[in-house]
Each structure stands twice: as C-alpha cells, then as structure tokens.
C-alpha cells in the first residue's frame, strides 16, 4: 500500500532549513533514513508533462480547455499514466507516448511544462521510501518524499502506522492524511492513486512562484 507524498522546498510542510539548500535538506533526510537502518536500493524518477485540449476542438461553447497530464514512474517502467485533474486516470503501456504524438491535433503540449522528481530509493523492513528533488527545467523547486508500505492493500487501514514511521525520520513536519483516502474506505490501493498524488504535488509546486531556495516560510 502506498500512500503518500509530502513535498518540501519552501512550503509549509517542510521548510528548508535556514541557510541550507534543497540539496542539503535532501542529504539531511537521507542521512536520517540511513541512521534508522534503511538500505539504499537504486534510484527512481517520476515525471509529468502537461497537455491542453487544442483550441480547434473547443467548439462554440467556449468552454475552458481541460488539462491532461501524462506521467511516467520508474517503479512501473512499462506503464504510462494519463490523468485529468478531477477525472479518471488511465493506465496504459509505453506506446501511449507515441499515440500522443499522433493526437497532436487534439492535445497540445504546454510549453516548458515538464516537471520531474529524481532521487534515491530506500528500503526499511517493509517500507519503501523515495526521497527526490523536484525540478522544473534546470531549477530545483522542492523535495518530494514518498513512503510505501507493501503488505497493506487497503488505504485507510495503515495510516496511523505510516504516520508513526514518518515521524521517526521527518520529525514534526508530517502532513495530514491525503485526500485520496477520504472517499473510498475499503478500496484496494492502486498505482493510479500514487500518480494522482504526484500530480497534485506537482501542481502545487508549479503554482508557487520561483522562490529563493534558501528561504524560510
């Protein structure tokens, strides 16, 4: 079961410490994890591209174009995820990217919209922790931390367990329960839920203005 994501950088949940950069905060986190006893297990990468519906298909009603996000996750290397903001999430194979090229008439790529997070994976007992730096273009915009608890498949069951684990290495900066849990209580967790959370995270980071990286809020 993998739930959640929290972001860093300079937003309320995890303020970058005074005088430190994103890089150093990431190093701080990874050192804490290693002290806890986690083992490094390679790297990960999650990226996201934005497309908006082309003007030609909007029709006379003048409705606002919808934004579609196409995401990849190195944890599922053979899949490609496509989602709308409040809408369904499609899980397809990697040929979907080629399909998007063919659908140029309907979906146009937004300029300079690619955002991604890269970092290292750690394994601690049955927990999988991924700490990554969120970058948009050349600049680092924040930190993402993902924690997955493998054995449990129902999202709402193990939230307290996860919270306790987070507190052990994040200290007091732990977030509230993700919205993904709210609506369905006994549903089995799926990778699409992870991607929805990443999408929300990236949107949040994108909306922030470019802030000096060594600031505190």
């Amino acid at each position: 079961m993998r739930p959640f994501l929290l972001e860093g950088g300079s937003v309320s949940q995890m303020p970058v410490a005074e005088g430190k950069s994103v890089q150093q905060t990431v190093e701080l986190l990874t050192r804490k994890l290693e002290m806890l006893g986690a083992e490094k297990q390679g790297t990960f990468c999650v990226d996201c591209e934005t497309y908006h519906t082309a003007a030609s298909t909007l029709g006379s009603q003048g409705q606002a174009g919808k934004l579609m996000y196409v995401m990849h996750n190195s944890e599922y290397p053979l899949s490609c995820f496509a989602l709308f903001e409040n809408g369904p999430c499609l899980v397809a194979d990697t040929n979907f990217d080629v399909l998007m090229v063919k659908l140029k008439g309907f979906f146009q790529s937004a300029k300079a919209s690619k955002i991604e997070t890269r970092g290292t994976r750690y394994q601690y007992c049955d927990f999988l922790v991924k700490v990554g730096t969120v970058t948009m273009g050349p600049s680092a915009r924040g930190i993402s931390v993902e924690v997955e608890y493998g054995p449990c498949v129902v999202a709402s069951d193990c939230w307290s367990l996860l919270l306790e684990f987070l507190q052990s290495f994040l200290g007091s900066h732990t977030p509230g329960a993700p919205t993904v849990f709210g609506n369905r209580h006994d549903a089995v967790y799926s990778p699409a839920d992870t991607m929805v959370q990443y999408m929300e995270l990236f949107n949040k980071i994108r909306k922030q203005q470019q802030v000096p990286v060594a600031g505190i809020r």
Partner: protein, 311 residues
C-alpha cells in the same frame, strides 16, 4: 514385509501354484524328450508308430492337465492389495538393492514407531485425565464415565467429516472465508482469506493442522501449475513473522481427542489478525517496533503485542 504387501494373496494357493508351474515345466520337457527320442524299437512299423503316438498323446494330456491346474490355482491366488497402507511409498519395497538403501524397512519401522507412540500417548492422556487437578465435581463425573478404553484413532477420519467441520467453521466468522481443496491425496489444504489483510495456507493431516504459511492479500498463492503453492515464503517481513507466530499457535493449541475444537480455536486466534495494521501494541502503545507492527496475538486474550513486547 510379505504380510504388509500381499494382504489379499492366498499364500497356500501361491505355494501350490509354484509347484504346479514346476509340474507343468516337467511335463512339457517330457513332451520334447519324447519327440527327441523318436520311435522305440518294436517288431512292426505299425507297432512302433502306435506306441510313439500313444506316448506323445499321454504327454500332451499331462501338459493340458497341469495347465488347467495352474489356471485354477492362479485364480485363487488373487491380486496383491491395491491400496497399500503406505500408498506410493509401498513401491519402495520393489527396490532390489536392499542393503545399500534400506529405505523401505526404515520407513516401516518409523511408521510402526509413530503409531505405537500415538497409541501409548492416547492411553497416557486417558490415565492422566483421570488424575486431573480440577476441583469441580462435574469433571470427575465425566472422566469416570470415559474410562480409558481404546480410543478410536482420530488420525484416520473420513474426508466428508473433515469437509463438514471446515464448512461449519467457515460459516462462523463473516470476515473469514475458508476454501478447502485436496490437490495432493487425502490431506486437506485450506486457503483462508481474512478480510483484505492476509491469506493463510493451512496444510492438514486428517483433522490436525500440520503447517501454515501466511502471505499478504496481494501476493500470489498459486504455483505455475495452478495448484496451491505451499512452500514459498511471503515477500514481506511482517508476514514472515506472522507465519512464525502461527506455527507457534498450532503447537500451542493441542487436544488429541477433540481435533475440531483445536481447529476452531486456531481460527479464532487467526481472526484477531484482521486488525493487524490498525491495532497498537498493548504494552508500549506504539505501532511500529523495528519497522514491524504488533504481530503477536496472545493465546488467551487475543491482544496485540510486538514480538519484543510480549510477556
């Protein structure tokens, strides 16, 4: 060895059949000798031919007689019993190299030993129950009735009975479902699914629980050939821990005379794992200890404890 294998064979008829074969062999060789010797020297050609033919006919008649005798005896001998008490391992007795690999005789000895042990243990438990330390009058009354007569062995129960017991237990708890199958012979294999938390494979021997393996809800419990995979461990440390605890539990809940009570208690204990990820430890109050949730369930009170926190 002979009495175990050839339970249905008539030994006397067997011995008679062997001597009948010898008789048949000798009469056949007499026929060929007669042919080889040819005609005896007699006065006339006719006399010689007649004597030869008469001799030849006699020999053929004796062959016929012996053959019929052999057929009659072979029908009496009967087939060796099809259902070996040891099933396929009875075929080990056909191994000709007995001194280098005395597997079969050792196997038999092991079975005899364990059966004797079972019998003696049954007698001993009957005697010990008489000397119980409980003070209630009821208990004395019950055991006075049940004098230690030869208890029927609960090791060989009809499979229908086992099916009934399991289906009754299946209906007991709504969040636990038990599926019974017999892919390998008569021992039942149960696949117990507890809510959306875990799956347990229980291998049984008549109504006694032999082994258990606990795996996660999303893990695959079937091998490539479609049968239940009863050997591979779970990929998650928490379920490996719960498997160890389950093995301890099945050693703890023991009652040779009433195995269905044992299975019921085991399932009740197992059901307490429905809140594996939600219950904090009763002793330290936390959820995680070394990365593991409270995996121990007390055998009497069913409370959750960490493995390192249990008393």
């Amino acid at each position: 060895m002979a009495d175990v294998l050839s339970v249905g064979v008539n030994l006397e008829a067997f011995a008679q059949a062997i001597s009948a074969i010898q008789a048949l062999r000798s009469s056949v060789s007499r026929v060929f000798d007669c042919l080889k010797d040819g005609m005896r020297n007699k006065e006339t050609l006719e006399g010689r031919e007649k004597a030869f033919i008469a001799n030849f006919q006699d020999n053929l008649h004796s062959v016929n007689r012996d053959l019929n005798e052999l057929e009659r005896l072979s029908n009496l001998v009967g087939k060796p019993s099809e259902n070996h008490p040891l099933h396929n391992s009875g075929l080990l007795s056909l191994d000709p190299v007995q001194d280098k690999t005395p597997l079969y005789s050792q196997l038999l000895q092991a079975y005899k030993w364990s059966n004797k042990l079972q019998y003696h243990a049954g007698l001993a438990s009957g005697l010990l129950n008489q000397q119980s330390l409980k003070r209630s009058a009821n208990q004395m009354g019950v055991s006075a009735k049940r004098r230690p007569k030869a208890q029927p062995t609960t090791l060989v129960l009809p499979p229908q009975y086992v099916d009934d017991v399991i289906s009754r237990i299946d209906r007991m708890f709504p969040e636990m479902s038990i599926h019974l199958s017999r892919p390998n012979g008569t021992s039942a294999m149960l696949l117990v699914t507890l809510g959306k938390v875990l799956k347990v494979i229980v291998v049984m021997r008549s109504l006694f629980i032999d082994r258990t393996i606990v795996k996660g809800y999303n893990e695959n419990v079937y091998a490539e050939d479609g049968k239940l995979d009863i050997w591979s461990k779970s990929n998650y440390q928490v379920f490996q821990k719960v498997t160890d605890h389950a093995t301890t539990a099945l050693l703890h809940y023991q009652l040779p005379q009433m195995p269905d009570v044992v299975v019921r208690s085991f399932m009740t204990w197992l059901r307490s794992y429905i809140k594996l990820f939600q219950a904090p430890c009763q002793r330290c109050g936390k959820f995680l200890q070394d990365g593991l949730p409270p995996t121990w369930r007390d055998f009497r009170t069913l409370e959750a404890f960490h493995d390192t926190c249990r008393q």
